[in-house]
Each structure stands twice: as structure tokens, then as C-alpha cells.
Symmetry: C2
Amino acid sequence: MREGYIKVHCPATVANMVCGFDILGFALEEPNDIMYVRLIDEPKVIIRNLDDYGLPTDPEKNVAGVVFLEIIQQQGNKFGFEVEIDKNIKPGSGLGSSAASAAGAAVAANHLLNNPFDTNQLIQFAMLGEKLACGVKHADNITPCIMGGVTLVRSIHPLDIVRLNAPEMYAAVVHPQIEVKTSDARQILRKEVLLKDAIRQWGNIAGLVAGLEQGNYDLISRSLEDVIVEPVRSILIPGFDEVKLKSKEAGALGGGISGSGPSLFMLCKEKSTAIQVEKAMQDVFTGLGIEYRSYVGKLSPQGVTCTEA
Amino acid sequence: MREGYIKVHCPATVANMVCGFDILGFALEEPNDIMYVRLIDEPKVIIRNLDDYGLPTDPEKNVAGVVFLEIIQQQGNKFGFEVEIDKNIKPGSGLGSSAASAAGAAVAANHLLNNPFDTNQLIQFAMLGEKLACGVKHADNITPCIMGGVTLVRSIHPLDIVRLNAPEMYAAVVHPQIEVKTSDARQILRKEVLLKDAIRQWGNIAGLVAGLEQGNYDLISRSLEDVIVEPVRSILIPGFDEVKLKSKEAGALGGGISGSGPSLFMLCKEKSTAIQVEKAMQDVFTGLGIEYRSYVGKLSPQGVTCTEA
């Protein structure tokens, strides 16, 4: 029991969703960060970490901190926030760890201030955290983290976000304990792509969005193909091709790299299939002698949620 | 009254739909080609033109003819077709004139043979006509011409087509009487595009598909942006920028080049708006001293239809 605090659930998220590089993302049921947040009178941010990741507690250097600071300043320095963060989404996993903190901070502040901000404003605030974390104000993890479900960032300037309809799906996620830096994963991409590849990619994106909206699993499955980013980035992830092959054999609709990796995800129609797919993915990394964490859960229709602590 | 003939309505179609280069297309209520087709005993194709376009009547050189010939051969040379074609979709207009003939032939043959072929097979047959017309087996006019409505060609190899849901919309179409060769329009495109432009394009495509499926006119309007093809091809069409500007002022959701041009189309929520937009487009070409034909009609939910003649 924490007097005056709210408890904030911040879901992990998967950006890109195979063919939707920089535009699509979705929220996971598992893992979740938990934050406890309360208003304080002084215009400052106090951060305590409940986990062992050793993230900075200086609010200027903390992903949640910079979001709280911006909100405090925009509202005239009349209050502050005290925050405890229990991170379960490992930093560097490619599962939207920084987005969870940034989105959690924005939604928590909004809740404690009686909801002065709309979703677009919350995303704008949270993007400051992403900028601190990786140098770019991207929104493809932030958006599903705040809105839940499957989301589209049609445009960043101006910000234009869309919640997509989607049928029930389950994700099997494996996080091999290797390091892939987002900056490296960005640098190895070519600045130019063949028009014919771009056309194939946007055919798949259109197919995926139509499949999600129409609840057509077969179309979703056929559309989960990435001819632009995956062929380059998958080189950084040992076992990638085998994970994909074995997952498909185990019944996955399809999947690929979560964000810039190294986590991999596979979408499934049924939970029982997702459990089998998780097993198949585990086996590949066990065979390679690479440690991992893995998760199975529904695509979460909910984003960040606040309850009484 | 034509004894033994069926009457075939073949709609004009708009390929690309602004951001969906090579993948999206839709059917128009107006203009339509009319074909009269009947089965004959001899394994040959007899073609008569009822219009003044002087298209070849040698079936090997006629877009409808090659489709009929292929079907006759595939079915064991046991019958033939006699065909009269009244073309209202001007060849070279960018409104799917060749697709109308090719799709009309495939659907008419299927009807007369008691529907042995499914939609995919009909598209495959009709693509032979497109190959004759422009050297490429493309399906972005054929597919909406056969299926009606708004369609997605997710992939050509293998053929994967999707009928999209769409809210009621009207198109204003103007065909300025200038010539733009499809081959020229293809040649001026760059073989490579910037990744950042491709991302913006597929954000728009995802937005357009989501907007259509959700019946969200504002999202459709915001997504009707093409940063890849239009900036290059619009150079070939005098008055393009002004047409777009004036059409938007008159209330159009958005629009652009139909196929490879020179026809331009604008989508509107209401018929009354589409009529005003048509007027605005006419004024631009009148001002430039360029003759035109223009049309207003609903996006047709129906593709090629066959009735008793």
C-alpha cells in the first residue's frame, strides 16, 4: 500500500510488425513495467529504481524523468512527481523498454492531473523519452504502448496516429541475451531501396492492414513478409532463419524482429499454438548455446493503465 | 436484340489511387465499354468494332482477342467467340481501356461457359490482354475491373488479390486530350527511391487502407499523398498542380493521376461535391486551351457484368 501513489502498468511493445518498418506496432500482455507515481508539491522529479538495471535516477538522464520534467514545466512549475520504477522489460531487448517508461510517465502524469492531455499530446510528451534513449523522436513503440492494440503512425510530422482493428492474436516472444544496438541496426540499413522492393513492401503493408481490419488470418500470414529491413538486420541475430522456419512449422502466422532486435516475435491465432511456437524458438537458442527470456501473451488491447496503488 | 449474345458492361478503372502505385485500383460507374459476345462452333474469334477507334480486329493483335484465344485453346479448341465491341473508354486515357476489354473478354467467356473459372483465373487470363497492350502483365486495372470496388494486388507472383471495404465515394475524372505513353510514364521513374520516402509512402498506404476499411473519410483524405511517383509523372501533365489545388478548394478528399495518366481523378464524399470538383477541373483545362472529356460517378461496387443482349 503506497499512500497517494497510483500504480501504472506499462506494456512491452513490438515495433515494425515485419513489413511495417517505422509505422506499425502493437502492445503485448507480457512483460510489463510497473511504476508507482504520486504528485508532490515541489516542481521536481524524484526517481527510485526497484529493479537491478542501474538506470539513471537523475531525471534529466532518465527516460521517464524527461517526460515528467517537460510536463511540470509546461504546467507552470506548480508541482512535481515522485516515482518508483520496477522494470521488467529489459533495456536493449527491442521490446520497447524505453517507450514503456516514457509512455508510462506521460499517462501517469495525465491521470494524476485529471486528464488535461489528449492522446496526441501524450505521444508528443513520451517521444521526448525516446529521443533521450535513442536520439530519435520515433513513435512506433510509444503509440501502441499508450493506445494498446495494433497502431499505425501514418506520419510523425504532423503526428497522425490510427488505432487499427485486429482479430484476437497471440505472440510468442523470445529475447536472446545478446546485444544489438539500435544505432547499429539503423546504420546498416541502406539509404536507398529498389522501387520494385518498395512496391512489394507496400503491397504487404496494405495486405497486413486489410487482413487485420477484416480479421483475415490467412491474409495477415501471407502479408508478414519484409523484403527491405529484415534481410539486412537479421544478419545481426544468430539463429534468425531457423527460428522463422521452426516457428512456421509449429503453426505461427509469421513474425520477425521486434523493433531493431534482438528479440524475435511470432504471431499466432491460438494461445496453444503460441506456446508450441515459443518452445520451438527456445529450442533454437538452446541449441546455439544462447541464453534467452521468452513470453507468450495476447496482443494487448490495452495500453498503459493506472490503478490505485 | 442480338440473338444468342450477351451484353457485357466493362467499367473504366483507376489504378494506383495516389499512394498505392502498382497495388491499388478502383472501378468507376462511368465511362463503360459495352461488348456483345456469343459462342460459336468454330474455334476462332471474330471481332467487330462498333466504335471509331480503329483498334485491330485480328484477334492475335486485339486485347480482348488474345484473352478469348487463350480460353479457347485451354478448353481444347471446341468452340469460339463472336464479339462486337463498343468502346467508350478512350484508348490511352489512363482509365483502364485495355483492362476493360481484357477483363470483359474473360468474364464474358466465363459466363457463356457456365463459370468454370474463379476470380484468380479470370485475372490471369485478362492479364494476357494487358501484356499485349503495354508489355507488362500488370493487374492493378484488371482486378478492380473484374471485382468492382477498391482492390489490392498484394502480390503478382503468386497472384494475391484482396477486395477492400470502402465507404460510398464519388470520383470526378477529367481526361485532357493529350498523349502520355505508359512506356514513357514508366521510364521516367527512378529505379531506386530513398528509404525515408518509401516509409512515408507506406505510411500513407497503410493509412489509406485503414481509412477505407474503417469508413474514415478524414483519414482517407490525409493519406492521399504520393511522394514517389506523382512528383515525377505530374510533370507530363500540364495544369496538374492547379487541378489539385482547385479540386481541394472545391471540397475533394484528394486525388491525382489515374494510372499513368493523362486522366486525373478526384475522390469526393458527396456527389454534389464531385460535380463542383469536375467543374473546377474543367475550368483549369479550358483556361489552358486543352480539350477534355470529364465524368462524375460513384466508385462502382460492381465490376464487369453480363446481361442478356
